[in-house]
């Protein structure tokens, strides 16, 4: 049963992604509101994939990516970054520090499911 960690400060986006993930059989969504919260959740639950927003309070998505990649226990977990449309800079930086892929906002549900599925089946 894959655990998907959704790191988003917007409850609307969390809800939207959670509903989309219901279409992935057996998947379970863990919600976190920012980078720090995400790390907290990761220490208590096994996470198979991370979906993270970039612009968040407390700890942003980029910092989270670099911390996850720097930790031997977590470094293999696939990370998909959710970016604002047209934010090329953020996207490049996220990929350069170890995010596996990105998804632009507004999120297209089909695209999201396809992307998540492709990483889950790789494992």
């Amino acid at each position: 049963m894959p655990n998907i960690l959704v790191v988003e400060d917007s409850p609307t986006m969390r809800q939207l992604i959670s509903f989309a993930m219901k279409r992935i059989p057996n998947s379970h969504v863990i919600e976190a509101t920012d980078g720090v919260d995400a790390l907290k959740k990761m220490s208590s639950e096994k996470v198979d994939l991370i979906l993270a927003d970039i612009n968040m309070p407390v700890m942003d998505g980029l910092k989270l990516v670099s911390l996850v990649r720097g930790n031997p226990t977590y470094k293999e977990i696939p990370i998909i970054i959710i970016t604002t449309e047209g934010a090329e800079e953020d996207r490049k930086r996220a990929l350069s520090i170890g995010a596996n892929s990105y998804l632009p906002k507004p999120i297209q549900t089909q695209e999201l499911i396809r992307l998540v599925n492709s990483y889950l089946t790789k494992q």
């Binding site: 400060d9 917007s10 409850p11 609307t12 986006m13 809800q15 939207l16 509903f19 612009n55 309070p57 604002t84 449309e85 906002k105 507004p106 999120i107």
Partner: protein, 680 residues
């Protein structure tokens, strides 16, 4: 379909909260334009609304928010300075955003053409404000011409990178014609330029003439760079003195005054419109109250935690009853379980109540906006200082207290505050201050509105009270008693109806509203120094401490806040005055007796006060003795409404279920005291 609705309602909650964040942030930004964290917070709020609305297909809303975000981004990058014009525009845009979300919540279509003006103005703001203003003092090398250079080229170079808004050549060093040398340069220039380039780019224009010249370039920071103010430009140029501008601005008139002067419109019409305008502001303000509630996750987790414990107790009881575990049915075990159950029950009750509690800041933060707009209407400058925003109050109480607070704040601005001119004349700072303070003490929450205005006019109140027949004369009344007269019905000291308050809704309505919440309101004033209005509110409406009493075959609950004491009077202490009014002598004080059974139409067990019990209650300094058969005890009860099927029931505030499962009515002590007229 269900998912779609669910996401939408989450979005509405989120967007509303973010919009409030934006609004609050903008108002703070006006005071602290350099606060980076503040700008980031506002930007992030707009950014989030944009992202989530786009993802759920609200493209127009998202597009509009994008416009707001772009401006905030420029502020964040320091390309824009958050001046008054900019903040006002953003506040207006966030109002529109709020309207969009509100209509989304009520499933009403929103007319997006309403936003067009706002979008255009935001665009203007963006385009103009991208430009920075620089002032250049250019004192060229005297031998510039000899080097084959021409200052005209420099000016042309400046025109290439921006708009040269002002050039002034100084000719004071030009010698007499006979002494002029044609290859010498005697002029110097002051140049103003508006450009999107940096200082280094401007310096580059002067690259070749730098040697031997004196060139000073400095950025000009105006409050709103887009539109330099006329006065400022004149002062900058040295044409007019700053004091003269200030003097001129003082006599500048408002649109309404000018129209009246030119006989285009009657003064009363202007007053009526301004009145309408502020009503509208208040209307807008009221509509922003939502009917959902956001709960701190910690509170919810705590509740679930206790419910978990409850389940454990349940299974322990099961073991005892079925005898299938280690727990045996011993008095000790039962006793221990029972006390645990009691603790958990109390915990659940407290925890469930806390879910309804909201920080007063949710309402307070909207007041800064109100104050800003209401004080803008008049020649008054008022600053709202808030404290204790984190104090929590029941959501129901909080909603009902909003209107009275609006009224009190309006009053403070309208009647309490002097104009800045008046303030300066008496040596007060031109800015008036209204403090809005909330704090909790015991089971009550206090909200205080304190202004540093002129205070109440004691003589005027007495005069008015006598004219209205409220009092006969002022002898024997303390100052506080006199000031609190303004809470009586039909009392308004303002001789004219003004644009902000005094629309006939008097302080008595404020008092009534607050008392319907079991609250109290009090006023202290010091002439010339200011007025403090203190509101005391119960933490919650739903649970009260009650004294359970018996009367006939029924039990009644008297809210403990009204009870002073209970006693059995001696026969000789029960007296009748004028053969009509019964009183009880309580340690020398004669207090009227109300035979509750007559009031409630019940056959009592005891009619003689010296065999029954009297409960001494008070409301607003009026004391009464209520005659009941017996006391049961003090306990917390949950008040429930009697339901809409009942006609208005006097003397009863609601019903409750007692520990023994029976229903008891909760008595409305203020109502009883008001209703029973004493025939003295």
């Amino acid at each position: 379909m269900f998912e779609h609705k669910k996401i939408r309602s989450v979005f509405i909650d989120e967007a509303m909260e973010r919009i409030l964040e934006i609004e609050k942030g903008l108002l703070q930004l006006e005071q602290y334009p350099d606060d980076e964290e503040l700008i980031n917070t506002i930007f992030r709020a707009a950014h989030t609304i944009k992202g989530s609305s786009a993802s759920i297909g609200l493209n127009e809303l998202s597009g509009f928010t994008h416009g707001i975000e772009e401006i905030l981004d420029l502020v964040r990058l320091r390309k824009l300075i958050p001046g008054k014009e900019l903040i006002s525009q953003l506040l207006e845009s966030s109002d529109l955003l709020k309207e969009m979300v509100t209509s989304l919540a009520s499933d009403m279509p929103f007319d997006f053409t309403k936003c067009e003006n706002s979008i255009i103005r935001m665009g203007d703001l963006k385009n103009k404000i991208l430009l920075k203003q620089f002032k250049i003092i250019f004192i060229p090398d005297h031998h510039l011409f000899r080097k084959g250079l021409d200052p005209a080229d420099i000016i042309a170079g400046l025109r290439d990178i921006g708009e040269v808004t002002n050039i002034k050549a100084f000719t004071d060093e030009v010698p007499a014609l006979s002494e002029i040398s044609p290859d010498e340069l005697y002029l110097r220039w002051d140049i103003s330029i508006r450009t999107d380039r940096d200082l280094t780019d401007i310096r580059k224009v002067f690259e070749f003439v730098e040697e031997g010249s004196d060139i000073k370039i400095f950025p000009v920071i105006a409050p709103d760079q887009g539109m330099p103010l006329l006065g400022q430009m004149l002062v900058e140029e040295g044409t007019v003195k700053a004091e003269d501008i200030a003097e001129a601005l003082k006599v500048q008139k408002r649109l309404g005054e000018i129209l009246v002067e030119h006989d285009k419109v009657a003064e009363t019409d202007i007053k009526r419109m301004v009145d309408k305008q502020s009503l509208k502001k208040i209307e807008l303000f009221k509509n922003s109250v939502s009917s959902t509630i956001r709960v701190d996750l910690k509170k919810l987790d705590h509740l679930i935690n206790i419910v978990g414990e409850m389940v454990i107790i349940h299974s322990m009881f099961q073991q005892i009853i079925h005898g299938n575990g280690n727990l045996k049915e011993t008095p000790e075990n039962l006793d221990a379980l029972f006390s645990q159950l009691q603790r958990i029950g109390k915990d659940i009750q407290e925890s469930a109540m806390s879910l309804r509690m909201l920080p007063v800041g949710e309402v307070f933060q909207r007041f800064s906006r109100l104050v800003r707009e209401l004080s803008g209407n008049k020649d008054k400058r008022v600053e709202l200082v808030m404290a204790g925003e984190e104090t929590e109050l029941d959501k129901g109480v909080l909603e009902k207290i909003t209107d009275p607070l609006v009224h009190l704040i309006r009053n403070a601005i309208d009647h309490g505050m002097e104009t800045s001119g008046e303030r300066t004349a008496i040596g007060k700072p031109p800015y008036g201050k209204i403090h809005l303070i909330a704090y909790q003490m015991g089971d009550s929450v206090y909200i205080e509105i304190e202004d540093d205005g002129k205070g109440l006019d004691r003589e005027k109140i007495i005069e008015k009270a006598i004219a209205k027949g409220v009092i006969k004369d002022s002898s024997g009344l303390s100052d506080d008693q006199i000031y609190n007269l303004i809470f009586l019905p039909g009392f308004s000291t303002a001789d004219e109806v003004s644009d902000v308050s005094g629309r006939g809704v008097g302080m008595d309505v404020v008092r009534k509203n607050i008392e319907s919440l079991n609250g109290k309101v009090n006023m202290h004033t010091k002439p010339g120094i200011g007025t403090t209005i203190s509101i005391k509110l119960p933490l919650t409406l739903a649970i009260i401490d009650g004294l359970t009493v018996l009367l006939g075959n029924d039990a009644f609950v008297i809210p403990i806040t009204s009870v002073i004491e209970s006693l059995r009077p001696r026969r000789e202490d029960v007296k009748t005055l004028n053969e009509k009014c019964e009183v009880i002598n309580v340690r020398g004080e004669f207090i009227p007796l109300i035979r509750l059974y007559e009031q409630l139409d019940i056959t009592p067990l005891k009619k003689d006060p010296s065999e029954a019990i009297v409960v001494l209650v008070s409301h607003e300094n009026k004391k009464r003795c209520l005659l009941v058969d017996d006391l049961v005890g003090q306990q917390q009860v949950v008040i429930k409404k009697l339901g809409t099927a009942m006609p208005k029931v006097f003397d009863v505030a609601g019903g409750t279920i007692l520990g023994n499962g029976r229903i008891a009515l909760v008595l409305d002590v203020p109502g009883i005291i008001e209703n029973v007229t004493l025939s003295v």
